[in-house]
Every structure is written in structure tokens, then in C-alpha cells.
């Protein structure tokens, strides 16, 4: 188990190094941030001074070397626009995105998995067909459009929920979050629902497919032959067997929601990381872009590690392989 963890951490480190090089080169290739930053009327001397100050006159390899050295000492640089340490900037936005992503995943899971179980258990029922039809809508209708409809319906027409922004932020277990106040929760409902629809559709279909396959398996028939009821068969025999694809997709979706909730954050004016990265791309704020992308890679690596550990918990056959 420890050996497995160690191996995975090494792999993760390698992925992060490779990604940092790719990101650095990619960002280096897209124009000169100084031209965006300074007054077009500024003279050549000032321009050259600024370029030298940010080290942009150095060869790429040298720039990367300095960047890597700073990162290793915990310094991701300073935003060229906000004049703040990048880490502080990103972390100030992170809780908003995290609570949005978490709420969306919770909604998708709590609604999607039970619906998927039902649709797989009674595939011919009318209700199952309705569920499956809605799930297709869930992941084929564009997020921005659904977001606009939600605002139109709940904020404009019915007027029971706010149309955007993050509400009052309270503290829960020492963490600043909107979940601590009723106003905050009201602000969270629409964007979280909007963000959850795609994942909900995905989870419904995955769960149903797993259920349908598992319900005709011999071990289910054997469990029934022992006199177990359908509830026990589903919740104690089947669910653990079909959990691996569900957990995999859950992990990937959670990662991509954290990293790329841009559309929803923009529509609902949610002050999360997605808006930060779009702003920094527009203003060519290199340190923010680089740090953000590396943070995203880091998040994915961590989530995948957790998912891999979950596999071992769910399936003993994987556990034995990992240990040997």
C-alpha cells in the first residue's frame, strides 16, 4: 500500500514537471504582455526597462529555470495586473469555485444515481423512459443556454432566487463559505443546478448501464435464490460492483468542474477561478495563467490519486494487484 502510494506520488510529480514545461512554452508563445501593460505612448527606454524587470529579455530556458526555482521555493510570481502574489490571488478565488463545484457534484450525485438505479432496475417502465429522455437533454443542451433559462425562470419571472453574484459569505468550521448563510445558499442554488445538469445526465446513464448489466449477472440470480429482496440485492450486492466507472467519471467531472466552470461563473457573475483565468488570458497576465494551469494539473493529479485509492476499496481484485 505504501509502495503503491509512493509510486503514484512520483508519477504525479513527473506529470506536474512535464505540464509546467508545456504550459510555460505555450504561454511564452502567445504575444508580449508588456505591450498590453504599458501606455502605448511610453518610450522605448521605459519599455526595455520593464522587459528587463520581468526577465523577458532572457532566453526561454533561463526564464523557465528562474520560474522553476521560484516555484520550488513556494513563489509562483506576482500578477502583472493586480500586483499581488499569484498564490494569494488564486486562493482568494478558490473557495467560491470549490463550493460551487462541490454543490454541483452533490446535486448531480444525489439526484442522478438514484434515478439511474431506478431506470436500470425497471428499464421498461414509463418513468424510466422519461428519466432517460431528460438525461439526454441534460448533457446535450448547452450550459450557457440552460443558465439563461434558469435566470429567466427563477430570477426574472418567478423572482424567488437572485440572478447572480455570490451572496453573504459566512464561516463554517473556519472556512469562509456561502453555505453558512441563507442568502449565500440562495445565490448558490441556480449556478450549482446549472453546473450539475450535465453531470447528472452522465451519472444517470452510467448508473443505468451498470445496473442493467449487473442485474442479469449470475451473482444477482444467486443472491435472489438465497431469498434476498430486491433492495438488498441492489444496495448490498450490485452497487459496489458498478461503482468503479461511476467513481471514475465522478472524479474527472469534479476536476473539470473546479477548473473549467467558466461559463457558469460568467453567466451568474460568480467570483470564482474561472473568471480569474479568463481575465488573465485577456490581459496576458502570464504568472496567473501559468500558476492557474499548474494548479489545475495538480488538482487532477490529486483527484485521480484519490479515485485510484477508491478503486482498491471497491474492488479487492485491484487491491491485491496493487500490493504485489
Amino acid at each position: 500500500m505504501l509502495g503503491f502510494l509512493f509510486q503514484r506520488v512520483l508519477q504525479a510529480a513527473a506529470v506536474i514537471v512535464v505540464m509546467s514545461v508545456v504550459v510555460f512554452i505555450g504561454v511564452y508563445a502567445i504575444g508580449n504582455p508588456i505591450d498590453v501593460m504599458i501606455d502605448p505612448a511610453a518610450d522605448q527606454k521605459l519599455r526595455a526597462a520593464l522587459i528587463a524587470r520581468y526577465g523577458l529579455d532572457q532566453p526561454l530556458v533561463v526564464q523557465y529555470f528562474y520560474f522553476a526555482k521560484n516555484v520550488l521555493s513556494g513563489d509562483l510570481g506576482e500578477s502583472m495586473v493586480y500586483r499581488l502574489p499569484v498564490m494569494q490571488l488564486i486562493l482568494s478565488r478558490f473557495p467560491a469555485t470549490l463550493e460551487l463545484a462541490l454543490s454541483a457534484m452533490v446535486i448531480a450525485t444525489v439526484v442522478g444515481i438514484p434515478l439511474g438505479i431506478w431506470a436500470g432496475y425497471r428499464p421498461d417502465a414509463m418513468s424510466s423512459k422519461v428519466i432517460m429522455g431528460l438525461s439526454v437533454l441534460g448533457f446535450s443542451v448547452p450550459t450557457f443556454w440552460v443558465g439563461l433559462l434558469l435566470i429567466l425562470a427563477f430570477a426574472v419571472e418567478i423572482g424567488i432566487l437572485p440572478s447572480g453574484g455570490r451572496g453573504t459569505v459566512g464561516t463554517l468550521f473556519g472556512i469562509p463559505t456561502s453555505l453558512a448563510t441563507w442568502d449565500g445558499i440562495q445565490h448558490l442554488i441556480l449556478p450549482a443546478l446549472n453546473l450539475s445538469l450535465f453531470k447528472m445526465g452522465l451519472l444517470i446513464r452510467l448508473t443505468r448501464a451498470g445496473m442493467q448489466e449487473a442485474m442479469s449477472a449470475d451473482y444477482v440470480r444467486f443472491a435472489r435464490a438465497q431469498g434476498l429482496g430486491d433492495g438488498e440485492v441492489i444496495f448490498r450486492h450490485v452497487l459496489k460492483n458498478i461503482a468503479i466507472p461511476i467513481v471514475t467519471v465522478f472524479g474527472l467531472e469534479f476536476g473539470s468542474t473546479l477548473a473549467f466552470a467558466v461559463v457558469t461563473e460568467t453567466i451568474f457573475n460568480w467570483p470564482g477561478m474561472g473568471k480569474l483565468i479568463i481575465d488573465s488570458i485577456i490581459t496576458l497576465d502570464r504568472p496567473v495563467m501559468v500558476a492557474y494551469l499548474i494548479l489545475v494539473v495538480f488538482l487532477f493529479v490529486v483527484i485521480n490519486l484519490v479515485v485510484d485509492l477508491a478503486y482498491g476499496q471497491l474492488d479487492p481484485r485491484i487491491r491485491t494487484r496493487g500490493a504485489s
Binding site: Y219, A225, G227, G229
Partner: protein, 321 residues
């Protein structure tokens, strides 16, 4: 007295091609502590008969008629909830492939404890203790440790013993075994058969042993039922049926068993193949493949007595009482 009586059982499947009757009027009975071999080719309806007894036929299949009497109670007439309480407790089942039968992600102990607690309100600890005892009964060494094992950590023979132990947990009157040794090595097969014989004798459990392997069943069963195309074509004490088959199909099956055949000569085969359920010939269903068939065989064959407690469904049986 009979532990299980099956009377005129009919199970059909509704398909686009029409309603197919996989089991067409099957009747037999098993005495306490005895082993009945239900023999036939693939598609003869023997497994469907087994599932029908436990009420495990799923749509588009359904039981169209007949009675399954267990201690005088008709299982077919029971409500789903009542039937569930009988399953596992009074009548249990063991399946062909032991790797597929046990849930791969749960320990042997937790699966068996679940089966115990499906019928008896006991603590998890008590359930595990019963599971351990059941494993010991089927000859599994160090049963307490095996409870912690996952199915993939056990050999095929061991897994099948676990399945049999699970079936035995509630001391059912009848165990239906659907080709339980087909997927196993010959040596392991022998051990399991000996174990089953011992269990039947000691616990009084009646077994219905479904198989296509006449060589195996001839050494195990007390009685035989030979099925062909959804019907029982011959029924009687195993020794008598093997020694002197009355139905031409039984004779053909016995002749094509390699171990019962003289080495060095070509193995006889039954010509043709089993008819599909959608295109059964009228009258005797075996007549297209039968060397003794004549014009009389286009009519439904009569049940003819063929010796002590023997019956054969044939116009021209090889043996008559």
C-alpha cells in the same frame, strides 16, 4: 415421502417469433435424501425447469401452468413475498460457474451472513458463526479464515463448495444444482460429488442435479429424468435406466458417452441436432433423429411403463414392462 413434486410444469417465453414453450408438461418427484439427475442437451429445458421451481424466471419468460409442491405447498401459487421467504430457506439453488455466482467484491463471510440474515433475525456475529459451520460441513479447511477471503482468492472447487455451503445454510428440503461441476477439474468434480452424496445421506436434503454429463450423473443419482425438447422422455431409477435405456434418445445419449464406450472404435452419434423450440415436429419430438421412427410417431407418444417405477414417452420403446 416426497420432498419435491413437480406436476405438469409449463414455462414459456414470449418472443417476437411467438410464444415458445421451453418446458412443456414436466413432472417428477424427489424423495427426501435422494438425488434426482435431470439430464438433457443444451436447450432441452432442464435449466429453465430448475429456475421455474424457484420462481426465478424473468420476463419475457413466465410459468404458464403446473404445480411445484414443496411439503405440500404449491410454490407457483405463492405471492412474490411468500416465495422469497421460501427461497434459500426451504429450496436453494447452486449454479454452474462458481466464479460468476459469488459476488467478486464481497467477502465470502459477508455474502453468506447476508444469506443467513435474509431469513433469520440474528446478529452479524451469529450469522458469521453459522456461515463458518456451513463451510466446515462441505469440507473446507480452516473455515474461519475463508470467511475473510474474497472469491478470487479461492480455487474453482473451493468456490463451488462455498456456493453449496451457502445453499445449505438454512437446511433446505431441496437443493437445485444446475451443472455445478461442469466448470471444474475432474478430480475436484469427484470430491464434490462425494460430498454431495454424503450431504444427501446425512442431512436428508433432496437434490435435483441438472447436467448434460451422463457419465457423472450415473455414479451420483438415485433416479434419472431424461429431458428432450422441453419434455421428460424417460424417467426411472438411475441404475435401471443406464443399464437398459428404454427411450431411443436415452440409448443414443448413453452410446455417445466416451467413458462408457469401447476404445478404438468410432463414437456413435445421434444424427441431426435438437429441434429449435419454434419448429418442433408434431407428435414425437425426437422422430426426425430416431432410427425406430415410423408413421405412428407423428402422433403424440404415449407414456409407457418400462419396468419398476419406470416410464418412457415413446411409441416404440426399447424396453417394456
Amino acid at each position: 415421502m416426497s420432498a419435491l413434486v413437480v406436476e405438469n410444469l409449463q414455462t414459456e417465453f414470449v418472443t417476437r417469433a411467438g410464444t415458445l414453450r421451453a418446458v412443456d408438461g414436466v413432472s417428477f418427484s424427489v424423495e427426501k435424501g435422494r438425488i434426482l439427475g435431470l439430464v438433457g442437451e443444451s436447450g432441452s429445458g432442464k435449466s429453465v425447469t430448475g429456475y421455474s421451481i424457484l420462481g426465478l424466471i424473468e420476463p419475457p419468460g413466465r410459468i404458464a401452468g403446473g404445480r411445484v409442491l414443496l411439503d405440500g405447498v404449491d410454490l407457483i401459487a405463492l405471492k412474490p413475498g411468500e416465495l422469497r421467504r421460501m427461497r434459500g430457506a426451504r429450496v436453494a439453488m447452486v449454479f454452474q460457474d462458481p466464479m460468476m455466482t459469488l459476488n467478486p467484491v464481497l467477502t465470502v463471510g459477508s455474502q453468506m451472513a447476508m444469506a443467513v440474515r435474509a431469513h433469520d433475525k440474528v446478529s452479524q456475529r451469529a450469522a458469521l458463526a453459522r456461515a463458518r459451520d456451513a463451510l466446515a460441513v462441505v469440507g473446507i479447511p480452516s473455515p474461519a479464515e475463508r470467511l475473510e477471503a474474497y472469491p478470487h482468492q479461492l480455487s474453482g472447487g473451493m468456490r463451488q463448495r462455498v456456493a453449496i455451503a451457502t445453499a445449505l445454510l438454512h437446511r433446505p428440503a431441496v437443493i437445485i444444482a444446475d451443472e455445478p461441476t461442469t466448470a471444474l477439474d475432474v478430480s475436484i468434480q469427484g470430491q464434490i460429488l462425494a460430498e454431495v452424496r454424503r450431504l444427501a445421506d446425512e442431512t436428508g436434503t433432496a437434490f435435483v442435479w441438472i447436467t448434460h454429463d451422463l457419465a457423472v450423473i450415473s455414479s451420483l443419482a438415485d433416479d434419472l429424468c431424461v429431458m428432450y425438447a422441453g419434455r421428460v422422455v424417460e424417467r426411472g431409477p438411475a441404475a435401471a435406466v443406464i443399464a437398459e435405456p428404454a427411450h431411443p434418445y436415452t440409448a443414443g445419449l448413453l452410446a455417445s458417452v466416451p467413458s462408457l464406450h469401447e476404445p478404438g472404435t468410432p463414437l456413435p452419434q445421434i444424427p441431426g441436432s435438437a429441434p429449435s423450440l419454434g419448429r418442433l415436429p408434431a407428435g414425437c419430438r425426437f422422430r426426425d433423429r430416431c432410427t425406430r421412427a415410423d408413421a405412428a410417431c407423428t402422433a403424440d407418444p404415449p407414456a409407457v411403463a418400462a419396468g419398476f417405477d419406470r416410464e418412457v414417452l415413446c411409441h416404440h420403446p426399447l424396453v417394456r414392462a
